[in-house]
Subunit: 568 residues, 2 copies
Amino acid sequence: MKQNETLTTHISLILNGLLLQGLTTAVIAPGSRSTPLALALAQLAHEQRIELFVDVDERSAAFFALGIAKKINKPVLLICTSGTAAANFYPAICEAKISQVPLLIMTTDRPPELTKVAAPQALDQDHFFGNQVKSFFELPLPETNHDSQNYTNYIVQKSFQIAQNQPAGPVHLNQPFRKPLMPDLPIKLDHNQQKYTSFSSQTTLSSNLIKKVHTNLSNKRGIILAGPNQNALSNIAMLEWAKKSGWPILADPLSQLRGISSPNIITCYDSLLKTNSDKLIALMPEIIIRTGQTFVAASLASFLKKSQATIYSLDEENALNDYTKTTTFSLETSAEDFFNQIPPVNPLTEWLKEWSVIEKVYTSINKINSTDTLNELEVVRAIASTGSKKLNLFVSNSMPIRDIDSVLQPLNAFRIFCNRGANGIDGIVSTALGVSTKSAENLLLIGDLAFFHDMNGLMMAKKYRLKIKIIVINNNGGGIFSFLPQAGSSNFEEVFGTPLDIDIEQVAQLYHAHYSLAETVTSLKKYLCTPAHSLEIIEVRTDRKDNVALRQELINQFASHIQTTKES
Amino acid sequence: MKQNETLTTHISLILNGLLLQGLTTAVIAPGSRSTPLALALAQLAHEQRIELFVDVDERSAAFFALGIAKKINKPVLLICTSGTAAANFYPAICEAKISQVPLLIMTTDRPPELTKVAAPQALDQDHFFGNQVKSFFELPLPETNHDSQNYTNYIVQKSFQIAQNQPAGPVHLNQPFRKPLMPDLPIKLDHNQQKYTSFSSQTTLSSNLIKKVHTNLSNKRGIILAGPNQNALSNIAMLEWAKKSGWPILADPLSQLRGISSPNIITCYDSLLKTNSDKLIALMPEIIIRTGQTFVAASLASFLKKSQATIYSLDEENALNDYTKTTTFSLETSAEDFFNQIPPVNPLTEWLKEWSVIEKVYTSINKINSTDTLNELEVVRAIASTGSKKLNLFVSNSMPIRDIDSVLQPLNAFRIFCNRGANGIDGIVSTALGVSTKSAENLLLIGDLAFFHDMNGLMMAKKYRLKIKIIVINNNGGGIFSFLPQAGSSNFEEVFGTPLDIDIEQVAQLYHAHYSLAETVTSLKKYLCTPAHSLEIIEVRTDRKDNVALRQELINQFASHIQTTKES
């Protein structure tokens, strides 16, 4: 019995349009106004045409969708009801915008006659996410008008493409619905629905430019600074080029280059720059090529500012991605196109070797201590020594990503994720869980404060029996502030340290997680080597102040070893 | 030793300016960019010039500030660092905008040279909350320039006033800071700093209008529909007028009129309208005066649409507050000014009595059952019978506020709060806890889903040893959906019911709360009568489906009693 044919046709158009574009996954936060989409998606999920996740906390839901999209590099559909529900999506949307993750956000809304007249749960959702989205579209109400239906089909498909096209990012669709909200189930998808196709273009550098750049790069001490990057093809081209040219690549942990066995890959740069060693003079490059997004290490920013080198930035999307403002030549090209089109230069003798020697020195001291005592740096070393090629490591912001940046020298090249757009400590648990839905081996490294911030996110692990290990570095508060000038101030603990005294084991119980307390490196490595069968929380208790001393000690040690190397 | 005099002067100006305006309370979410304000506020808090709360989850922090502002009716200062931190404020800001709660949001930001160039943790915070705030101002960087300093002082004081003036609401200030971020402590406040004063104006109705309105209202069967309202003076004037004129007042639970012992106060309207009784014909008014914000009961909207009455809406702020679009005359005046200036009319015999009789019938059946079994309606009745005049009752959205609306006939007039602007189930715990910081007797009525959504909010109760009782109606999922058409659909539990299987006792343990399971009305009343010494969580387990039947039964019973009354 067809009661609501217009509504049913409308949502079929939308969902079929998205399936035509390649939609595979949707996340929905329950509510009333989104009822037609929720019921239709549940049906499509049961028919295995789509994977559907339901998350009651919209903030977590949005980060969960972000995690999935990070892993699959395709837009994920994210849906909620009207009102403040949508506002909870905002943090994840900001992150998606800066870190260029494709998301298709569909907020549902009251019909026009119920907006701006103080109807319940109605707020102005027009351009609700401001300039934090790539595009905003108001979808029409379900209508029998053919042009309106075509428009709906066109807009949803275009939105998917806009979200996906470089630079990828979030696109917001606002969909008003009028009551009654019950569609006629099951909805049917029209096999003849028009599909819109778009092709992405490649950059072709002119032969003149190629010649000029190649000349500029030749016979110079050059390095590549590889920032965060999702494109495996870029890395293949870059590594090939660097090998032939004898250039070192300073590999940000999010470049996806760490763990690749090659003398060109340099990971010690953050500690090296902090040594302020004389040795740095010999390592000063004449040319720097920057690729990828903003690197994690603040020390690199100072290095760029002090450097006399000519700096090339590959800025495909003209995203002004250089906050150091040191770029000499900005090229609107992808790293893939650049390294495939510019011929390699002749390697200079000794140049790469100078770097490799220092890298080896660092590797020799950056190792698990003999006393088996666990601390924040040993956790990173334990991960480096146990992580398999299949591992998906999600790293929280604040201290964990900095520890990873300074210390991670992995045996294998595994995938590393981080919300390194806006660098928030919000939504980390959910983003990591989102990633985990599409991969077999999952590990999250997170501090107690970020863990608490998105504790609600754990509900999805319980509900969908997701398999992930979470290492909670519990130093009872905000570790990073101990590195800042206010560390000695009188109200430090109250406004910066903020100890929360969370009982991690109780949290684990609440979400039916397996809990372990790791007290030695050996025990931590043991936990890391056993496959995760469910949600596993491994607590490591550390002291915030210790970490400051620990890192300084490592740098001092590195400095003295470099000195020895130089003298020998 | 003065190292950072310009920065110190700047933040002194800001905080002193706000103190001059009457700022009493600040909530800060920790971060690095907000360091100067955090340290200065901590100092002022230790000097007892201000009350300061630190909340690590920005979403909770914003709702916490909202709760305080609801209770004190003055702007609360809410501060965070740059980046996604601010985005977490968005849900509470949307709620503050619609429900007209004064909030002064200060997001801190990177300096201009670090925005839009992919610097870490930098996003475009300009007009970050779109049209969900009353005003947005970009504060200048700390400067020695005298005009700039005056501008800072002026803007912060004006922002406070804008947030406070009717209609109250959120105002957003974005404050960029350049490193170094350490102010010279202690900051000193300048006793001679210029203060800006603003006066609010009153509406004076013209004598012509008064005469005309009075004539229209005379000799008519009139009712007052009193919606949500914070203004006690309005209520005094309205009640006085109604008593003299013999008009019933249909008192929304958020009107602050329930529990006032007066034959004019009618609370049975929601159940009455749902009976569809013939009796309703005799109760149909010729005139309706609407005051306050949008009422809770959807049944009233249908009633207004069906009614043939002339409808006056008192819409002081021209807020188009009538989504039923049934208003005949809209008056830009406050209820206080209206009822003080329009003379009462002569009461019609029998009119008020007709209503009072029905109200008494409802009171006689809307009472605690003899079997002592607990259900969602009995919880409301238990609160009605135990709540003292000092009680501050916070009611969650979705089912609890609807249950309260239909059933609450309290013995005492206590204060009832609800986030009834955008009606979200997010941030309820934090908003209630915010209210509780400024009152002695606190009770929150909430379902398990909303409780889960803002579980993080409980951290503030633990940290600041807040005294509040929380009744968690645990029906394991979203109760309201059982009242909607999709209740019978095949994927109902998956996308609407969403049982989370939360162990409330474990949550209580995690936050060091006292936990009780109430299984009878008697035990619940006992828990309610004992003063709260800390955070107390009282779990009441119910069945989602039962509630639908229970409410229908109450309405059926009411219908049959009305019938009897009529016939007798």
